[in-house]
C-alpha cells in the first residue's frame, strides 16, 4: 500500500475514533442523567402518593386501617388504579391491609429498621432476575406523637427500565453505524484533500525518474495550502530547469571549445604522419601545433578561473592603487593599439586605492581594454578612473563597432559571442571572467553601447581608505 492511501486510512480511523469517544461520553451522560431523572420522577410520584395515602390512614383503638372517606378518584382506590401498590403494616412488618400488584412481597428488614427510627425509606427490590425491579417507599405512621405503624407505596420500574433499555439500544446500534460512516467520510475527505498531493507526488516521481525538468504541476490557481505548495513547487521547478539548461549549455559550449583546438591538433598530426616530410614541413606543423596548444591552455585557464568562483573567496587584502594598475595595463597594451593606429589614453587620480587581488584586477582590465582594441578599427580607446560616493568608477570606452542592444544582456554570459563565429579569436569567456572578478571584489560591471559609435564598459569597485598615517 502506498503512503497516501495509508494516510487516508489513518485519517478515517482518527475521525472514527474521535467520534466513538465523543459518542461514548455523550451516551453515558445522557443515559445516567435520564435514569436519574426518571427515578426522581418515580420517587416524587411515590412521595406524593404516600402523603395522599397518609391522610386516609385511620387509627382507632390501637388499630390501623385505610379509611375510605376520600372520593374514589383521589382516594386509595384511585391510587391503586394508577398501578400503585399500597400496604399498611404494624411496627413488626405484619401487613394490616394491602392493595395492588405487589401486595404479597416480603417486607425488607432495612425498611423496618428505618421505620423504627421514624425515617421514610426508599428501596428497589427485585424478587427474581427475570422480573422487573419494584420501587418501595416506606413512611412511618405517627399518631399523637407515637409511632404506630407504617405504609408502603410501591411502583413497578418496568417503564423506566424499558425507556432506558431503548436508549441503550439506540446508542449501541446507532453509535457503530455513525462511527463507520464517519470513518468512511474521513477516508473520502482525506482522499479528496490528498488528491492534489498525489498529483504532486506523481509529477515529482516523473521528474526524478526521467530528469525531465520541463514538467509542471499546473494545478488550478487556488490560494489554499495545497495551491500555494503547488505554485511554489512550480516556481522551484522553473528555476531548477533554467539552472539545468544553463549548465547543459555551458557543458556543450565548453566541450565544443575544448574539442576545436584538439580537432585542429589531430588534423595536423594525422596529415603530417601519413608519410615522411621535409624538415620545413615538420617545423611548420610544430608551430601550428604550438598555436593550438596555446589556445587550449588559455581556454583551460579561463575555465579554471571561472570554476574557482565557486571556491573560497579570493584574498581581497592587498591594497591596490588604481592609477598604478591602469597605467601599467595601458602601457603594456599600447603596442596593440598602436598597431591598429588607435589612441589609447589613461586618466586616473592618484591615491585611489581598493582592497583586492592585484592579479585578478589586472586580468579584469586587460580583458576590457584588449576587447576595446580588438573591436575598434579607428578612433580611440580611453580608460578613465574617478570617484563616486564610496565607489571607484573605471570607464573603458572605445569608438569601435559597438554592441547591438539585443546582445547586451547576455554579454557577460560564459561562451557568449556577439558574432556566432570566431572572427576574433577567443572563446567568449573574457567578459564572463571580468564580470566574475568584479563580483568577487564586491563591485559590478555594466555596459552601454551604440552600434557603430562604440561601447562603454563601466566598472564600479568599493574604495578603500588607508588608515591615517601618524604624523
Amino acid at each position: 500500500m502506498t503512503w497516501p492511501s495509508l494516510f487516508r486510512v489513518r485519517f478515517g480511523l482518527w475521525v472514527a475514533g474521535l467520534l466513538l469517544a465523543a459518542l461514548a461520553a455523550f451516551g453515558t451522560l445522557v443515559y445516567f442523567s435520564l435514569e436519574r431523572g426518571l427515578l426522581q420522577a418515580v420517587d416524587d410520584s411515590l412521595r406524593l402518593s404516600a402523603s395522599q395515602t397518609l391522610t386516609a390512614v385511620e387509627y382507632e383503638n390501637g388499630r390501623l386501617s385505610l379509611g375510605d372517606s376520600a372520593p374514589p378518584e383521589t382516594g386509595v382506590a384511585g391510587l391503586v388504579g394508577r398501578d400503585l401498590t399500597i400496604r399498611v403494616m404494624d411496627l413488626d412488618g405484619r401487613l394490616i391491609q394491602a392493595l395492588g400488584e405487589f401486595k404479597g412481597w416480603p417486607v425488607s428488614a432495612a425498611s423496618l429498621a428505618a421505620i423504627a427510627l421514624e425515617q421514610p425509606w426508599f428501596e428497589t427490590i427485585t424478587d427474581a432476575p427475570e422480573h422487573t425491579p419494584v420501587r418501595f417507599y416506606s413512611v412511618p405512621i405517627i399518631q399523637q406523637g407515637q409511632l404506630v405503624g407504617a405504609i408502603q407505596i410501591a411502583l413497578n420500574l418496568g417503564d423506566v427500565q424499558f425507556t432506558l433499555r431503548r436508549l441503550l439500544q439506540a446508542l449501541l446500534l446507532g453509535g457503530p453505524v455513525l462511527v463507520v460512516l464517519a470513518a468512511l467520510g474521513g477516508y473520502a475527505l482525506a482522499a479528496r484533500a490528498l488528491s492534489p498531493i498525489d498529483h504532486i507526488t506523481r509529477t515529482v516521481r516523473h521528474i526524478a525518474d526521467g530528469s525531465d525538468l520541463s514538467a509542471r504541476l499546473n494545478l488550478p490557481v487556488v490560494n489554499d495550502e495545497v495551491g500555494r505548495l503547488a505554485a511554489t513547487f512550480d516556481q522551484m521547478l522553473a528555476r531548477l530547469d533554467g539552472a539545468f539548461r544553463r549548465e547543459r549549455q555551458f557543458t556543450a559550449d565548453a566541450s565544443h571549445e575544448l574539442r576545436t583546438p584538439l580537432a585542429a591538433m589531430q588534423a595536423i598530426l594525422s596529415v603530417i604522419r601519413t608519410e615522411p616530410r621535409t624538415a620545413a614541413d615538420y617545423a611548420q606543423a610544430l608551430a601550428d601545433l604550438n598555436e593550438e596548444t596555446d589556445r587550449l591552455t588559455g581556454l583551460v585557464e579561463d575555465l579554471l578561473s571561472l570554476a574557482r568562483r565557486d571556491g573560497p573567496d579570493a584574498h581581497l587584502t592587498e591594497p591596490v592603487d588604481i592609477a598604478d594598475l591602469l597605467t601599467d595595463i595601458t602601457s603594456s597594451l599600447e603596442p596593440l593599439a598602436e598597431a591598429k593606429g588607435l589612441a589609447l589614453t589613461c586618466t586616473a587620480p592618484a591615491n585611489l586605492c581598493l582592497l583586492g587581488d592585484r592579479d585578478q584586477l589586472i586580468r579584469l582590465f586587460v580583458n576590457l581594454v584588449d576587447n576595446a582594441i580588438k573591436y575598434t578599427d579607428q578612433g580611440s580607446v580611453s580608460v578613465a578612473a574617478s570617484v563616486e560616493a564610496a565607489q571607484i568608477v573605471v570607464v573603458v570606452a572605445d569608438t569601435g563597432i559597438g554592441i547591438p542592444p539585443e546582445h547586451q544582456p547576455h554579454l557577460f554570459d560564459r561562451f557568449y559571442r556577439v558574432d556566432a563565429a570566431r572572427s576574433a579569436r577567443g572563446a567568449g569567456l573574457g567578459l564572463a571572467i571580468a564580470h566574475m572578478i568584479a563580483e568577487t571584489h564586491h563591485g559590478q560591471i555594466t555596459v552601454t553601447s551604440q552600434v557603430g559609435r562604440g561601447a562603454c564598459f563601466r566598472v564600479e569597485l568599493p574604495r578603500w581608505m588607508p588608515p591615517p598615517t601618524p604624523p
Partner: protein, 230 residues
Amino acid sequence: MRVLIVEDEPHIAAYIKRGLEEQGYAVDCAATGREALEWATAVAFDLIVLDVLLPEGDGLSVCRTLRARRLRTPLLMLTARDGVDDRVAGLDAGADDYLVKPFALKELLARLRALLRRGADAPKSPVLAYADLTLDTATHRVARGDRPIALTAKEFAVLECLLREPGRVFTRTSIAEHVWNYSVFNQSNVVDVYIRNLRRKIDDASPLKLLQTVRGAGYRLWLETDDDLA
C-alpha cells in the same frame, strides 16, 4: 574528385586540404557560410565537407539552402557538437553523414569514399574496374590484370574520374573540374599531359587499348574491340 571544405578554423581547413590533396582529391576551401554557397553553386563538387559553426550563415542553414537548390552533392557535416540532437539536426538539414571533431584523417577519408559510393549510379565497391583494369579507391592500387601500375596522385585522380563512368565521354573541362581545384583548373591542356602519361602507363604494354580519344569531344575508357562489334 573535387571536394569543397567549409571550415573557419584555419589549421583544420589547411591540414584537411593537404591530407585530401595527398590522396589525389582536388580541394577548394571556404571559411564562411556565404563563401560556401558561392563555391557550391559555381562549381560541380563531388563532395562537400561542411563545418556547423561558421560565420555568415551556419552549416545547417548552408546545408538546407543547398538542398533547397536541388544540389545533390554528397555532404559530410563536421562539428565539435556530439549531442544526439545535434547529429539529428545535421542529418535532417540534408547532410549525408556526420563526423564529430576531433577525428582521424583516415576516418574522414573512408567516410568520403563511402559517400562517393552512395549515389544511385555509383559503383558500390571501393574497387573500380573496367576490362582488366582495376583501381582500388581505398588503397590507391591500380593494375592491368596482374601487372601493378604506379600512378601519381593526379594521374590516379584522372583515371578514377574516367573509371567511375566507363564509356562516358569526358570533356577536358569536366575532367579538370573534378581533378584540379580552382587555382589550376583553367589550364585545360594540362589534362592532355596527364592523359598522355596515363596512356603510356596503362595501354602501352597491353594489346588492348582502353583510353580512347574522342575527337573534338574528349576522352573515355573504351575497348576498341567493342567498337568493332558495334
